[in-house]
Amino acid sequence: MNDLAMHILDIVQNSISAGAKWIEISVIENLVRDILNIIIKDNGKGMSAETVQKVTDPYFTSRTTRKVGLGIPLLKQSAIQSGGDISIESEVGKGTTIRANFVHSNIDRPPLGDLANAYVLLMSANPELNIVLNYSYNDNNYSISTEEIKEVLDDVPLNNPSIVKMLNEMVSSNISETQYLVNN
């Protein structure tokens, strides 16, 4: 994985496979506290305590097409190499929360990458789910959700390519503005 946005793209697939209807992606960057946290919360089918222990094992997977599952192990590796770690909380029938913490200034921390694009791709490929994005940079926040966008779009499908392009532009300019406000 080249950047953290790709990890997000990947980990959210787990929530989708778990049948989640609501997924919340939070990215918290705070330069004062020197942290970058990623939290992905869903209301999917959840996991038992026993399964939670096993998911960081690369040889554990719920799929049947192959024997390895590297999504969470790779995220864990990225987090640990940048002075952080991951934690998973899950309850059967309720959902799962996965947190990955990174030391912002660590030289081994992968760059955030194109978060807006990752979010918009997830949303347009899964228009029936409500995917929420919360981005915060120091104390500035930006939030957007599939529900809000659908309300605006009305009868135009979310996966229409022109709409995807517009959404990409919208989310990415808002994310850069959130960062710009702090840096200037």
Partner: protein, 133 residues
Amino acid sequence: MNKIKSLDDLRKMKQNLSSELSIREKSNNPDKMVQIRVAMATCGIAAGARTVMNTFLEKIEKDGVPAIVTQGGCMGYCYAEPTVEVKIPGKDPVVFGYVDSKIALDIIDKYILKGELIDGILPVNYQTIQEKI
């Protein structure tokens, strides 16, 4: 095109777009559209599936190709990622392997628009999982 920043801007742009959209596109009947499914599991993403998906979306937007792009999971062809499944209505789905931006454009120009087969099709006897059961 003006820059879109808020949901209000999006609403305005959508109104312009709404009139251009054909009824077929609005109803978004998946049976009549070409379905392009980009495999986006760990293996696919690590191999560059995101770039491929963006290329498809840009091309479809630019040329008005009657297709929708969705994401799929891993089909077990991790060695050949990024893989893309293309289902043209009335035809069997075809899986292309080792797809990059250039091949993605070829898939649209040659396979989808002209019906020519191109190199890189994975197993010839490919079936979806549902058909196998």
